[in-house]
Every structure is written in C-alpha cells, then in structure tokens.
C-alpha cells in the first residue's frame, strides 16, 4: 500500500507522546528508533491528517525546537531508514517537505550529496537526468527544453512524471529541479 512517512526529532524524549501520535494518525504505525526520534508510517488515504498541524500543536505544547519531516513513502525505498534518520539529525530544526529536506541534506556535506546522487541516479535512467538538466537549463520552460532535446513536449511531460513516480521529486517545482541541478550538473 502507498504510504507517507513522518520523522520527528526533538530535544528531549517524546516517547510519552506515543498516544498522541497514534491518535493523530489512527491508521499509522508509530516507532521510536532512538530516544529522541519518532518514525511514523502513514498509509495514503482520502483525507489524511496534515502533519504540519501536528508540528504546530507539538511546538505550542512542548515548547521546544523540533525537526519535522513529511516525506513520500518512496523516500524510504530510495534512501533507507538509517539514512533518513541520520539526515534528520543533520539539519536545522523546522518543518520540512520532501524537496526542502533533500536540499538541506545537500547543504549538509559531501557524503550526503554522494549518497543522494547514487540513490537517485540508480532509480532513474540517464535520459531522465539529462532531461531534468535540460529543463533547468531552459528556465523550467517545458516547450523550450523539449525542443532542445528533439522530443515532443508530451514525451518530456511523461518523463517528468516518471521521475516523480520513481523518486518522489517534483521537478516542475523549483526546489525539485534544483536538487537535480546541484547533484548532477
């Protein structure tokens, strides 16, 4: 089943909040891989609870800095739990969506960049990466990028969608395309 994951890192232990997490994500599975880390797997549903709501609730109740990630399930397959949990500890506190998290990891150092490059690269064909870079080169203009690649714009649109399916990264958005530009150009 398709799922999303939520990772939370706090300054003090939030294990006592297990009930809160289970109440907020009734269909989810809550784990604590470390004393200050929470890992929630939440199946995709029609009206899912908004993880950012939980971030704000916890922030106002616990009153301490939290690092809070909302990621698509494909991130787990692509990078593995350990990499995500380690990455969580490397970035500044705040709420991150997927692409913002990957950008923060790129900033965190070369070893993270290498792993991201390897994992994303192995999930895609070289054509995908070449096409993403062409899109960046043409200021996100799909028509111009397709023309430069000698493909129909629908073909390029199909490949963009395929990148999203395989990596969870939306290169129609600036942050998503920036990840490819920083890792592969």
């Amino acid at each position: 089943m398709d799922h999303n994951i939520i990772l939370i890192r706090s300054e003090s232990s939030i294990r006592p909040f297990k009930e809160i997490f289970e109440g907020f994500f009734p269909e989810g599975r809550v784990d604590f891989p470390g004393p200050r880390t929470t890992f929630i797997v939440q199946p995709v549903s029609e009206s899912p609870p908004n993880p950012e709501d939980l971030y704000h609730l916890l922030l106002s109740d616990i009153e301490e800095n939290l690092t809070f990630l909302s990621l698509p399930g494909v991130a787990q397959t692509l990078f593995g739990d350990d990499f995500l949990i380690n990455g969580l500890a490397q970035i500044k506190h705040g709420h991150y969506e997927y692409e913002a998290f990957l950008l923060a990891l790129i900033k965190a150092g070369k070893s993270y960049q290498d792993t991201l490059r390897r994992s994303i690269g192995s999930a895609l064909e070289s054509t995908h990466i070449h096409n993403a870079l062409a899109l960046a080169h043409h200021n996100m203009n799909i028509s111009l990028a397709a023309k430069a690649l000698y493909v129909h714009r629908n073909t390029l649109n199909y490949r963009i969608e395929s990148i999203r399916e395989k990596t969870g990264i939306n290169i129609r958005q600036f942050d998503g395309l920036m990840i490819f530009h920083l890792l592969f150009s």
Partner: protein, 380 residues
C-alpha cells in the same frame, strides 16, 4: 505583567544572511502589537526569537525586567498560536485545552478551573465534551485560542493565525480576537502580512522590510504620516499613488505638462527645507483624488485630465486606474459616477492631503506642525 523590551536585536543566519537588523521596540503591558511586512521581511523570525525557537544573534530581549536570551521557551511564560489552528482530532475540546497544562503537571482541579474559565470567555461551555470534527470552523478556531488562554501566559504570540481561513471566517475571527483581547488584556504580538489585519487589530503597528523596522505607530499614524515610500505604498488598499516630478520656484508640483498648486503651508515647508526647483515624489492616496464638482471648485489649480484604463465598480465606490502624464494613478470615486474605459475625465487632487518624498532617501518630508497633529489625534 507582560512588558517586552527589544534592544538592538539582530538575527544573522549561517552564510551571513541578515534576517533582522537592529530591532528596537518597547512593548507595554496589555498592548496589542502587530508586526506586518512582506514575505521575508523578518517578522516571523522576530516572533520566533521571542518564543525562544530561534537564537538571538546579538542584542537583548527583556521580558518583565528579565533578560531571556538564553531562557528555554518553556520557561518564558508565553503562549503561541500558529497558522494552522490545529487541534488533536482524537481529544475532546476539554482535553485539547487541558493538554498543555497536563504536560506541565498542573493539579487536576487547577486544570479544570482554567479550562472552564477559558471556555466561559470563548463561549465554549456547552462544547467541552465534543471532538473537533463535531465543531464548526469558527468553533475550532476558538478552541485553538482557548489552548493558549488556559496557559495564563504573560504574552501571546500569534503567527499569521488567520491566514489559512476563508475570507468570511477570517473577518469573523479578526473580530473574535479583538474582543478576546479586550476581555483578557494579555500582551499580544501578532504577525501578519495582511495590512487590513494590522490596521484593524493593532494598538501599534510595526512595519518591517528587509529585516529593518520601517515605522512604529498607531494605525492612523502610519496611514496618515508614513515615514517613507515603503510604508506609504504598503499600508492602504489600493496603495498610495506616487508621481515623479519636480517643484518649481512658484509653489507648484510639476510633472510633464501639468502644474499643480501646492497649499501655502506645505509649500513654505518644502521651500524652507531646500526642495525648491528639485526633483521630488508626490504621494496621494486614492481616496484623496476626487471627482465631485465642489472639490474641483475648491482646488481649481489641482484639476487635471486622466485617461481611464480600468474602472472597477465595487458597489459603494469605483476604483479608476488611469494614465496621468505617462504614470499610472488609481482614484477611488463615488460609484454613482458613470465612467467607461478610454474616457477622459477630470479629477482633482486634494492637495491638503498630499505627501512629498525625497527622491534619494525615499523618506517623507516632514511638516513643521506634524508632531502637534499627531498629539491632537492621539488625545482625541
């Protein structure tokens, strides 16, 4: 008490990104302060520094006489309300409001008393056993406010709490928050990018841009006496019109082929400050451009022709976007005026309401009796 003192506060992020520069402000007990400005101006960063969620790079933050730069958030006695107005879906209204107090291990009877008091203030007494999904949008917002009220904090921090709401609920909640502040009188710092919220809710507005405070003042003060072009353009919808031109030596503002007579007191002041025969920016609010004959007769030297680009009927008034000496000007006139696109119409500037800005510094050129006028308004 909830007295806050910001002294030369700065926030510099890694990479030498300066988010807030030299922030100085004294917030009085029970005051409702609104920080307003465009995205990225540093208002939320400032609020997060008060909350203790961001480190203060330089300067001091003093709450009730105690420097709190290094005090953890939970020991600052503040309550935060965030954008999403979220609630725990599996808890009753009572438990949602009580949760923060339970975490702080307050005695049960005290928790009950505080939740009951907050419910009384917010009119939620009959809803305490309901779950959030059984509440209307407005009721949910009130519970979210209740979660802050029960904390009995010295200061409320609100970070764009209305920005996720639809237009109708936003207006309703704006009024609720004003009423609430009247009742409980807790010092509040409220962040928004919406200048209408700022104007309607604040005791004092702090207008920020690029990390700097541009002006601090009451809503009427920042509207009528903007410090600079930024404030003049940011506060007011539609924004203040700015027309480039110069002053001659006979008391006129000149732009293109148009000469507009400046009232004597304003002209004397401009002349005294050395702006005679100099480039200047003329500012006028849309509502100070008129089409009524009476005003035209009063200021015959300020009547000019405009070519209408767009006429937007808003019901009680019409906003006219027009070309004036190659510059775009917006006027707000009575809706009864029959105006069509491409018409050439006569409008008149109410020059007593005019503002003049220095082209280099972008600061408004102050008038001599300005402080007196501000004081009169304050006393009134």
């Amino acid at each position: 008490m909830g007295i806050l003192s910001f002294k030369n506060m700065q926030k510099i992020y890694e990479g030498n990104v300066q988010a807030v520069t030299d922030f100085n402000l004294e917030v009085q007990d029970k005051e409702f302060i609104v920080l307003v400005g465009p995205s990225g101006c540093g208002k939320s960063t400032t609020l997060r520094m008060v909350a203790g969620l961001e480190d203060i790079t330089e300067g001091d933050l003093v709450i009730d006489g105690r420097r709190v730069n290094n005090v953890p958030p939970k020991d600052r006695n503040i309550a935060m309300v965030f954008q999403s107005y979220a609630l725990y879906p599996h808890m009753s209204v009572f438990d949602n409001m009580a949760f923060g107090l339970k975490l702080r291990k307050r005695p049960k009877d005290e928790i009950k008393r505080r939740v009951d008091e907050a419910a009384q203030i917010l009119g939620l007494q009959d809803l305490l056993n309901r779950k959030p999904k059984a509440l209307s949008g407005g009721q949910r917002q009130r519970v979210a406010l209740g979660r802050a009220i029960v904390r009995d904090a010295e200061v409320f921090l609100m970070d764009e709490p209305l920005s996720n709401l639809d237009a109708k609920l936003r207006v309703q909640m704006r009024a609720e928050i004003i009423k609430l502040h009247e009742k409980i009188k807790t010092t509040t710092i409220y962040v928004t990018h919406d200048q209408i919220e700022a104007m309607t809710m604040a005791d004092r507005i702090v207008i920020m841009n690029d990390g700097y405070i541009q002006q601090v003042g009451s809503p009427s003060e920042v509207y009528d006496f903007p410090n600079n072009l930024f404030v003049g353009g940011f506060i007011g919808t539609p924004a203040m019109n700015f027309i480039n031109g110069h002053l001659d030596d006979e008391g006129h503002f000149v732009t293109g082929k148009t000469k507009i007579k400046i009232p004597k007191a304003k002209w004397d002041n401009l002349k005294e400050q050395g702006y005679e025969n100099k480039e200047i920016i003329f500012g006028i609010r849309p509502e100070d451009i008129h089409d009524e004959n009476l005003v035209k007769e009063t200021y015959p030297d300020a009547v000019t022709n405009f070519k209408v680009d767009v006429a937007e009927l808003l019901g009680s008034e019409t906003n006219i976007t027009a070309q004036f000496e190659g510059q775009t000007v917006i006027a707000r006139v009575d809706a009864r005026t029959d105006i069509a696109i491409n018409d050439t119409i006569e409008l008149v500037f109410d020059m007593n309401k005019s503002h003049f800005f220095d082209t280099e510094t972008t600061q408004r050129i102050r008038e001599k009796d300005e402080d007196k006028k501000k004081l009169q308004r304050k006393n009134a």
